[in-house]
């Protein structure tokens, strides 16, 4: 039978498909090692990154192993790509994971360490239980799901961060090991309609040189209020010898695109001064954040009142506990 979770639509049997996480059993798609997580720990939601969802709260970050893509610069290749007997999965069923969320005073769970489509049934079960307890679920994804999976995720996740790495089919084939970008663009539109969406774009040279402003135009065409994270990339995996983008290059992009996408941020490095939120209407500094390292950060203060600017009352898109 064909798997309908991602757009590879792999033929499943007792042998798994490309991601290696599903097999066919008695005419059903069965997740291998359900509820076996590579890690789970509470951290700031800004570190995921989500900047407009539950600002200042802690969430339990978790994930499993494997991926349906093969990104040449993957920062989690030791979990997502490389076969590694040192990867140690630890079992926690949905009840145990939700208990941990409550124990640690966290606001929910973010499925963040690898592609959520590779453990979809477990993620959905946890999300359902979180919602029963009045807690939140979110995920990071490469967006290469089928339309039905995208709709399911949009229904079950309170916030989603899609990594839109390029608009080029060629780039997706060559550098990500995926057949093309079209499903990702389609799913971004679905997520935008149905849940809170943030987008992250790793800054690699080909993308910056050729199409970063086209990506900005695409996001703007979907919704100019979308939160966009320009992500300083530390080239890793097959690109570990590549030079970093200069700060000048990154800042030029940020300063250009924030004029049309007011919730653009430049981060993933210690000390970034480009992670605060200003009200697009009155210019007030409304959320002050701090980046203390690559993938680390938090909210210093938020002046938002029920998701609105305290000075002019403008609605700021996001997920708020007091709204």
């Amino acid at each position: 039978m064909k798997c309908n979770f991602c757009e590879w639509r792999c033929e499943l049997s007792e042998k798994p498909g490309i991601c290696g996480r599903y097999i066919e059993q008695d005419g059903r798609i069965v997740e291998r090692e359900p509820f076996d997580w590579i890690d789970f720990y509470p951290y700031t939601i800004e570190s995921m990154p989500f900047y407009h969802a539950l600002s200042g709260e802690y969430v339990v970050q978790t994930g499993t192993v494997s991926c349906n893509a093969r990104c040449s610069y993957c920062i989690n290749s030791h979990l997502a790509i490389e076969e590694n007997e040192k990867r140690l999965l630890k079992h926690k069923d949905a009840e145990q994971l939700v208990k941990m969320v409550k124990q640690t005073g966290s606001a929910g769970v973010v499925f963040a360490l690898n592609e959520v489509t590779c453990f979809l049934p477990s993620a959905i079960a946890v999300a359902d239980l979180l919602h029963e307890e009045g807690l939140y679920a979110g995920c990071l994804t490469n967006g290469f799901q089928t339309e039905e999976t995208a709709n399911l995720l949009a229904e079950k996740m309170d916030f989603i961060n899609v990594s839109l790495k390029s608009l080029s089919n060629e780039f997706y084939k060559k550098d990500l090991g995926l057949p093309g970008v079209d499903p990702v663009l389609r799913n971004i539109k679905i997520f935008n309609e149905k849940t809170h969406l943030e987008i992250v774009t790793p800054l690699v040279h080909e993308v910056v040189d050729n199409e970063i402003y086209d990506i900005a135009d695409f996001i703007c065409s979907v919704n100019p209020e979308i939160v966009w994270h320009l992500f300083r990339l530390m080239p890793n995996h097959e690109r570990s010898d590549e030079r970093d983008m200069t700060h000048e290059e990154m800042l030029k992009i940020y300063e250009t695109v924030i004029k049309k996408l007011p919730f653009t941020y430049l981060g993933n490095f210690a000390g970034s001064l480009w992670v605060d939120t200003y009200c697009p209407d009155c210019g007030e500094l409304i959320v002050k954040r701090i980046c203390t390292g690559a993938w680390l950060g938090g909210t210093v203060y938020s002046l938002l009142e029920k998701g609105c600017c305290p000075k002019c009352g403008r609605k700021i898109p996001g997920v708020y506990m007091d709204a």
Binding site: D39, L88, Q103, G105, S106, E248, L273, G293
Partner: protein, 385 residues
């Protein structure tokens, strides 16, 4: 003011050491050295063996420009690469040999009397402590040696008694044993503390999702090398010993060669004890603070694994760029001395906090994710000079 300077991808920013607020860089001539050093020496990345030479070359430039009487170096490359990536024995030996030869090159070129000390040998992981049955939140130190159970259930207190490869203490036993009194430590303490035996490793959360390739041996001593006579017998005596040399006006380089195995230390190295009250000071905060400050782990209110997740204080509103610094850590070796001090190294987060020199340089890395070069700057002292 005490300051943190960051250099990332060619951008430089200055921040208040204590609260992380951005500061202006203008009108501070003492920043010129930090700007130059960080700009000219971008960090190669934690899993790149070039970091050994990077440490030496950067340190030499610091000495050319500033000429401190006390220079501290930390070579963490062998530790980071052996623990986190699969390098074979030959490569491990090569890196360790390079660390020692680079340490000597530094001392000779810059004109210091070197004292080289290792954090001790590594060993492969034989056995993992099976902790799946623990119901509370289980947190483990980066080196898989110490663990803490937070929110422990009644069953957990029984479960841990039957675990193989560990000894355990309850929260109260731990507090009584080490006379822990500070609020900072007390509120971060777990309900149960676990210590892995020498041939065991705890399974960890909060790391990179994989078990380590190697762990630190928990032997009674490590190795120290210097041509200076009468070296101390215990790491807790080291600080007093170095202070004595400095008082004689001698130019001293303290060089920490992390995880260079005992047999790879220079010929003539001697043993130096590193166990106190049943805890082996083999790496990270406890080792650096004990060596450079002469005090046990609990003195600076930093119980070295115990970041109670229930507190939601992983994100730090004080010393946000300094990882392990606490208000109670007093008298770091390089801080406000009446002579010049500087440090340079690859043990990110810990080293500058432990030294607090006039200038303390290091890479900025968390969990192997690189974020440029960091400098701690004692602006109060330097502005007077």
């Amino acid at each position: 003011m005490l300051e943190i300077m960051l250099d990332v991808n060619g951008w430089q920013g200055l921040f208040d050491f204590t609260n992380g607020e951005e500061l202006p860089m203008e009108g501070k001539p003492y920043l010129d050295l930090a700007k130059k050093i960080t700009a000219e020496h971008p960090y190669p990345g934690d899993l790149n063996p070039d970091t050994v030479k990077w440490t030496t070359d950067t340190a030499l430039d610091v000495c050319r420009e500033y000429d401190p009487q006390l220079m501290l170096l930390s070579y963490a490359t062998a530790d980071i690469m052996r623990i986190n990536s699969k390098i074979d024995e030959t490569e491990a030996k090569r890196i360790s040999a390079e660390v020692i030869s680079e340490a000597m090159r530094f001392a000779k070129t810059a004109g210091y009397e070197p004292i080289i000390i290792s954090t001790g040998s590594l060993r492969p992981i034989d056995k993992l402590v099976v902790t799946e049955d623990i119901e509370g939140y289980f947190h483990v130190s980066a080196d898989a040696y110490l663990g803490g159970v937070f929110g422990a259930t009644e069953k957990d207190f029984e479960t841990v008694k039957n675990l193989e490869g560990v000894r355990t203490e309850t929260r109260q036993e731990f507090i009584d044993k080490y006379n822990i009194t500070g609020d900072y430590a007390l509120e971060r303490m777990p309900d149960i503390v676990l210590y892995a035996d020498d041939d065991y490793a705890l399974t960890n959360t909060g790391g990179r999702g994989t078990t380590l390739e190697m762990i630190h041996r928990k032997t009674a001593s490590t190795k120290i090398f210097s041509e200076i006579p009468d070296l101390p017998d215990d790491i807790f005596e080291f600080r007093t010993f170095v202070d004595g040399l400095l008082a004689q006006g001698r130019r001293i380089a303290v060089i920490i060669a992390e995880s260079v195995d005992d047999e790879d230390m220079p010929e003539g190295s001697k043993d130096i004890k590193r166990i106190r009250d049943g805890i082996c000071y083999a790496e990270g905060v406890p080792f650096y603070y004990a060596l450079l400050n002469g005090k046990p782990f609990n003195a600076p209110d930093m119980p070295f694994i115990f970041h109670n997740p229930f507190l939601k204080k992983f994100f730090r509103d004080r010393y946000p760029y300094s990882y392990v610094k606490t208000d109670s850590y007093q008298d770091p070796i390089g801080f406000n001395r009446d002579f010049k001090t500087a440090s340079m190294g690859t043990r990110s987060g810990i080293f500058h906090s432990a030294c607090m020199c006039d200038y303390s340089f290091e890479c900025h890395c968390r969990g192997l994710a690189e974020s440029g070069v960091l400098a701690f700057i004692n602006g109060d002292k330097l502005a007077k000079d």
